[in-house]
Every structure is written in structure tokens, then in C-alpha cells.
């Protein structure tokens, strides 16, 4: 634990700088430059809005913003997990030459993805103005929700980093599981309205990303309080996953270089 804090202090600036450099690099040679950070999520949202309102006739309230908020949360979760599986192999060049706590690489990526998430949040707020959705103080629960989601995702990511080093097939498996999860998590529909009974309850509360997406929407769009009981359970689980993840990496990271 102490080691984690000192390492974090030592390397977070590096992670931050790397993430910043990568973000600028991503758009520096395109004509629209940073506008892509806004255009890309907006276009994605429009595609889903088209498919699900015109083709499938969805009727969720404030559907445009509903989808947008869902996508923002999902993208963060999805990108983090997808990235972590191969992160060691993608950074061979660093791993084979110097010591760095391996989760720092994920930390750097997480800054990049968080940045994109915050842009999405800004767009959400703009959209809420456009659609005249009432802001209420429940929006501030986001400050509570986001760190917990981050902790769970980061912990899961660390575990995937470790397994990904040893199991080549994991990349494919994670891809499939995440695709399944995408459809089960209610990115483009409301689980509680479409599904009923125990099934709905399980889908909503046992899947972290579905739960958090739902809570985001409740707080931002529908002026509701989060489900504090389930939230605190996820908080505890998050701490456990996070500690397991960090602990595993510390225990095995110096062996990674021999494998890749």
C-alpha cells in the first residue's frame, strides 16, 4: 500500500504527460484537429439515435441524451478493459528496458479515456440545455459515482493486464465478453423498463457498468437519488478488486519481461 502511494507520486506526472502527448498526437495531423473529440462521440450518438428511434421505435424519455450518457460511460469502461489486455505487449519497448510499475501504463491510458469522458459530459450538459432538461442537485452525485466506477474499472484492468501477459487468447475472449456486455448493459435501452422481475434485477445490479450507467442517467436526467445500498456494496467490491489488481501486478510484474 505504501509502495503504491510512493510509486503513484513518482510516476503520475509521467502518466499525465504521456497521456497528454498521445491525445495531441491523435489529432495533430487531421484537418479538424481537436474538433474530432467532439464530433466523434456526437456522430456515434446520432447513429444510435437513428437506429433506435427510427428503426426500433424506442420510447425512453430524453432518448438522445439518454444514449449519449450511456455511451460515455460504456466507452470509458470498454476502452479501459480492451486496452489493458494487451498493454504490456504494446509497450515492450519500455518494459524490456526499464522498471516502471506496470499499472502506470494503464493509469496513463485512463487519463486519456477520462478526458474523453469529460468532453462527453460537457456535451451532455449542452444537450440538456438544448432539450430543456431540468438540472437538479442530484447531478452532483456524479462526483460520488465516477470515482467508484473508476476504481472498479481500474482494478479489473489490472487483473486483465496480468492475465493478458500469459494468455494470448485473452484478447479475443475479452472482446466477445465485452460485446455481450454491451447488449446486456442497456446502453441503448432502459433495463428496468424493458425487462422485468429477477432477470432485470440481476442484469441491473450485478453488472457494474449497467448499474453505473443507470445511476448516471437517474442523477443527471431524472432527478433521482442513486441506490445507496447497492452503491455501497459496489464500493466495497471496488476496493477489493482494486487491491487485488494492484497486489497481483506488484507481485508478478518483474516476471513479465521474461515472457514477452
Amino acid at each position: 500500500m505504501k509502495k503504491f502511494l510512493t510509486d503513484l507520486k513518482k510516476y503520475y506526472k509521467y502518466a499525465f504527460r504521456l497521456s497528454k502527448a498521445e491525445l495531441t498526437e491523435e489529432v495533430s495531423e487531421s484537418y479538424l484537429n481537436w474538433l474530432w473529440w467532439v464530433i466523434h462521440p456526437l456522430m456515434m450518438m446520432l447513429i444510435y439515435v437513428f437506429v433506435f428511434t427510427v428503426v426500433f421505435k424506442s420510447k425512453e424519455t430524453y432518448y438522445t441524451v439518454f444514449i449519449f450518457l450511456g455511451l460515455a460511460g460504456w466507452d470509458f469502461f470498454n476502452r479501459m478493459l480492451n486496452e489493458s489486455v494487451n498493454i504490456i505487449r504494446n509497450n515492450r519497448n519500455i518494459i524490456l528496458r526499464i522498471y516502471i510499475p506496470k499499472y502506470i501504463l494503464l493509469l496513463s491510458k485512463s487519463f486519456t479515456f477520462l478526458f474523453k469522458f469529460f468532453i462527453s459530459m460537457l456535451i451532455t450538459i449542452v444537450l440538456m440545455f438544448i432539450f430543456k432538461i431540468e438540472f437538479s442537485f442530484t447531478c452532483f452525485y456524479m462526483i460520488l459515482l465516477l470515482p467508484i466506477l473508476y476504481m472498479i474499472t481500474f482494478g479489473l484492468g489490472c487483473i486483465l493486464i496480468h492475465l493478458g501477459v500469459y494468455i494470448d487468447d485473452l484478447k479475443k475472449i475479452v472482446e466477445i465478453v465485452l460485446r455481450l456486455l454491451f447488449y446486456l448493459s442497456g446502453v441503448f435501452y432502459s433495463i428496468s423498463e424493458r425487462l422485468h422481475g429477477l432477470f432485470s434485477y440481476i442484469l441491473l445490479n450485478c453488472n457494474p457498468i449497467a448499474f453505473f450507467m443507470d445511476e448516471f442517467r437517474k442523477c443527471m436526467l431524472y432527478n433521482q437519488h442513486p441506490n445507496f445500498m447497492i452503491l455501497s456494496i459496489w464500493f466495497v467490491i471496488g476496493i477489493i478488486i482494486f487491491s487485488i489488481g494492484i497486489h497481483t501486478i506488484y507481485k508478478y510484474e518483474n516476471g513479465y519481461a521474461k515472457v514477452i
Binding site: 504527460r17 519500455i94 528496458r97 526499464i98 494470448d168 487468447d169 519481461a257
Partner: protein, 247 residues
């Protein structure tokens, strides 16, 4: 003679490469035989001590574990058994171009690379002019690294590691960078670093002449074991004799 502190202690260090480690689930499921684990012993019971401010050369034929030893000291690999104690000194492998990202500018890469080596932003800020000057890149420094010629990349990389110094420097045959001018310059810089009395330096090289001139002692590794450890002259002449007999 002034009593010197120990900079590195290595005791009974062993390291084994196993080639089974990475496996695919399919292979694992369908191979009925228990997978043969190919073992390759890279280091066997290596023990030595290095005093602060000394220069130690490491010699041996290809594949005898020289680079592996440096990587263990640089904390890239963890040993399978044995102890490595750096007594709290900061260490860097003269790893050329570590963490370079081709799409971003050389300037930004100096920071990234330097921070990976464990320096703070402020320390790099202080030395950045020196690094740029040493690298001879001038205004190219603000261009993305992918536009550099390979010589420019290695010049930049060398400059970073040469200007930002750690207590213990591990060098793995990096003295052949750039054109003749730059080579001479980097050689001089190495000499300067090496003769700075606070720095402890470990050099892996095949250039016996350089080693004999600069080192305080030389370790001869053979098949992962320390065959000899002592004064450069004696070790190197024995080593040369040994290689001749084999040929």
C-alpha cells in the same frame, strides 16, 4: 586510501528463462503430454560487490548472460533466487530511446524518456537546453521523431541518457552512435561520466582496449557464472588466452 561504501551487492544470483511461460489455451488443451518446459539458465550463483565510484567492466562471449545481468541490476527482471542490493542508489540502464513515441516531438520525448528514467519535470527542465545542445538537433527538436533520420534518433536518445545521470549507470555497448564526430563526442562524455568519482559504472563491452583503459576491475562471465573477477589487465589477458584456445 579512502574507505569506500558499497554501491551494489549481488549474492548468489540465479535467473532462469523458461520458454513455456506464454501459452495459448488451445495448445494447452490439446496437448496430451505434459508440456515440456525448456529451461535456460542465464545466470548461476553470481556474487560480487561493487564499490561506489568505481568502474566495472563485464566481459564474456555472446549469450553468457551479460545483458541479463544488467537487466537484473536495472530492475527489469526479477531474479529467481539470490539478492541484489543497490543500497538505495538510483540506477539506470543506458537504455537508448526508452519510451520513445515516434509521433510526438523530440522535445516532448525528452521529457517522457527522462521521467521514465525517474527524473522529475523540474530536473529535466533544468537540463533540457544542455540535452538539446548535446544532441545537435537544433530546430528539429520540435519535429515529430518519425521525421528524424535513424542517426538523429540515436543521437537524441544518447544525449538524454548521457546528460541525465543516476548514481549507478549500466552501459550495454552503446558507444557506437552517430557519425564520427558524434562518436568521439559521446566517447568523451562517457569518459567524463566514468571519471566522475561519485558515479558507479558497469560497462558491458567487447572493446578490450577501452575496458583495459577505463575500468577499475573486470568481471568475466562464462555460461552464467563468474569465471574471474579482478584487475582488468589480468582478467582480460586470461580471457583473450581462453578465447584463442577455443578457436
Amino acid at each position: 586510501m579512502k574507505k569506500k561504501n558499497i554501491a551494489i551487492t549481488v549474492e548468489n544470483l540465479s535467473l532462469v528463462y523458461r520458454s513455456f511461460s506464454k501459452f495459448s489455451i488451445k495448445k494447452h488443451l490439446f496437448s496430451l503430454k505434459k508440456m515440456l518446459r525448456k529451461k535456460y539458465v542465464a545466470l548461476k550463483n553470481v556474487s560480487f560487490e561493487v564499490y561506489e565510484g568505481t568502474i566495472v567492466g563485464i566481459i564474456g562471449k555472446n549469450g553468457c548472460g551479460k545483458t541479463t545481468l544488467l537487466k537484473v541490476l536495472g530492475n527489469v527482471f526479477s531474479p529467481d533466487s539470490g539478492i541484489v542490493d543497490l543500497h538505495g542508489h538510483s540506477v539506470s540502464l543506458m537504455a537508448i530511446g526508452v519510451g520513445f513515441n515516434n509521433n510526438i516531438s523530440g522535445y516532448e520525448n525528452i521529457f517522457l524518456s527522462g521521467m521514465l528514467l525517474g527524473f522529475s519535470e523540474e530536473e529535466i527542465n533544468e537540463k533540457i537546453d544542455e540535452i538539446i545542445e548535446f544532441s545537435e538537433l537544433e530546430e528539429f527538436i520540435y519535429d515529430p521523431v518519425k521525421n528524424y533520420s535513424s542517426g538523429m534518433v540515436s543521437k537524441l536518445a544518447f544525449s538524454i541518457t548521457a546528460i541525465l545521470e543516476t548514481d549507478i549507470i549500466l552501459i550495454d555497448e552503446v558507444l557506437s552512435v552517430g557519425d564520427i564526430n558524434f562518436k568521439q563526442k559521446s566517447f568523451n562524455r562517457m569518459q567524463e561520466l566514468i571519471h566522475n568519482s561519485d558515479k558507479t559504472v558497469l560497462i558491458v563491452s567487447h572493446d578490450m582496449k577501452v575496458l583495459e583503459e577505463t575500468c577499475d576491475s573486470v568481471i568475466w562471465l562464462h555460461d552464467g557464472e563468474v569465471k574471474m573477477n579482478g584487475k582488468p589487465k589480468t582478467v582480460i589477458s586470461k580471457y583473450k588466452e581462453f578465447m584463442k584456445v577455443k578457436n
